[in-house]
């Protein structure tokens, strides 16, 4: 995508910034502990946690910054933050 003059952008273009590269710790979602409450999706500041066809929750690692809020808030302690290996 060529650059816009003056770094101008139309609404929605922030998606071009794939913030997943910022991540130091990566959340691992443990399906055996998940109660499908959806708290992780509710608290994700990036809005990158979504529900799959089976009702399980997963982060989009293209955008997940690894902030750890989902792991902190998960009532079932079903999300582990693991050091990112790149």
């Amino acid at each position: 995508m060529p650059l816009n003059v003056g770094c101008s952008a139309r609404p929605g273009k922030a998606r071009a910034n794939r913030t997943g590269s910022w991540r130091v710790f990566k959340p691992r979602f443990l399906s055996e502990k998940c109660t499908k409450c959806g708290m992780c999706r509710t608290v994700c500041p990036e809005g990158c946690v979504s529900e799959d066809e089976g009702g399980m929750f997963l982060a989009d690692y293209e955008y997940c910054k690894g902030c750890g809020l989902c792991a902190e808030e998960c009532p079932a302690e079903g999300i582990l933050m693991e050091l990112e290996e790149k």
Binding site: V5, G6, S8, S21
Partner: protein
């Protein structure tokens, strides 16, 4: 083309030139020695001589921020400042350039504190040299007024889209009465068309300026702004040539030589000091000394190629810098040295006239003899009894 000649204070001449540029928004905060410009413009707006939104603000930071917003909304905007006021605009200056907004701002050059000084040198605008604003320096009030028409023409060109400083020396020019050939409104209109924004804020078609760039993008944005600055040199040359054809004063060259052709020693300077240097050269020439001047009108973009060409035949170069990059040299000398790299021509730097210290013809002659003796890279005229 016929023009009226008026004897005017430099600030008032600049204000009248700005009026003819038809700015739609002015936001400014008064500061010595810029005050008379914005006072005069405020009066023109109050008297309905200029149809313009004049925003009074509480600081220079707000002044340029208001201009930034107005320019992004599609208005031709203007501000003026100096010294501490420009320092307070530092952050906004980088934003304006990065957002590619063609604001024109007059800088009535003044020293920076501490210690507090209201007097002239060029440290203020030089300190913003990396911000992405074009910088032109006027030798006299005629040039100061004309450069405003050029600045808008070049800044608003869609190949450029960069803001401009029009710099003229505080007090030395801003408060001096000189004859100035003033263009009429019709003449300026024929040269400077209405502002056509490249893109603008519009609630019906939303857009944001200067969005954040991750490490994947930022480098390329700086590259593109640098490319625009390089294109500005050519656009400035074309605009200057057309101005010359229409009104008889040719500003196509970013540098101007004075008795350079057979000179063994070349002085290099910017701004009002060039007038003094030319008088000093006339006297030295009468005494048989082969001295010339290279006046730098355009400091950003820096015309390296033209400087190299103009100085190729001299034996030594003495740069008069009304600024100092502390711990290094004067900014102009560094650029000239870079332009002449590999040529074996010695470039000697003289930090001169800081904080309003008067520079007279005899000082120029002394600099030339110092250069001939190979003595340079020094503060000229230091009062050693104080140190």
């Amino acid at each position: 083309m016929k023009q009226k000649i008026a004897i005017m204070e430099g600030s008032h001449a600049v204000a009248e030139a700005v009026k003819y540029c038809r700015p739609q928004v002015i936001a400014a905060y008064p500061i010595t020695p810029q005050t008379h410009i914005v006072e005069a413009l405020a009066e023109m707006v109050a008297n309905c001589e200029l149809d313009c939104e004049y925003i009074t603000v509480e600081s220079e930071f707000s002044a340029l921020s208001a201009c930034l917003g107005a320019s992004a909304a599609g208005s031709r905007t203007y501000s003026a400042t100096t010294s501490q006021g420009l320092a307070l605009m530092f952050e906004v200056c980088f934003n304006v350039a990065g957002m590619r907004l063609p604001i024109v701002m007059t800088i009535a050059n003044r020293a920076l504190g501490a210690p507090l000084s209201i007097w002239n040198d060029q440290q203020d605008s030089i300190s913003l040299r990396d911000s992405g604003w074009m910088q032109v320096y006027a030798e006299d009030n005629q040039e100061a007024t004309d450069l405003h028409y050029l600045a808008y023409r070049v800044s608003e060109n869609h190949k450029v889209l960069l803001p401009s400083f029009v710099c003229f020396d505080g007090f030395i020019l801003s408060h001096t009465y000189e004859p100035v050939e003033m263009l009429s409104q019709e003449q300026v209109d024929s040269y400077l068309p209405a502002f056509k924004p490249f893109q603008r804020l519009d609630a019906a078609d939303p857009i944001s300026f200067g969005m954040y760039a991750t490490p994947d993008y930022y480098l390329e944005f700086r590259y593109e702004t640098d490319q625009a600055m390089k294109r500005a040199g050519k656009v400035f040359g074309e605009a200057g040539r057309e101005f010359g054809e229409l009104f008889g004063r040719d500003y196509s060259a970013p540098v101007e030589g004075y008795h350079l052709d057979d000179a063994d020693t070349a002085l290099v300077a910017m701004g009002s000091i060039c007038g003094t240097v030319k008088d000093a050269i006339d006297e030295m020439r009468a005494a048989g000394e082969k001295v010339g001047l290279l006046k730098i009108r355009c400091f950003r973009p820096f015309p390296s190629e033209e400087v190299r060409k103009a100085l190729s035949g001299v034996s030594r170069v003495a740069v008069l810098d009304k600024n100092i990059s502390l711990g290094a040299k004067g900014a102009v000398a560094l650029e000239v040295k870079d332009a002449l790299y590999g040529s074996q021509i010695p470039v000697l730097d003289y930090i001169i006239g800081l904080g309003g210290r008067d520079v007279r013809k005899k000082d120029i002659a002394t600099v030339v003899s110092l250069a001939r003796a190979g003595k340079g890279d020094l503060f000229y005229g230091l009062r050693t009894e104080l140190i």
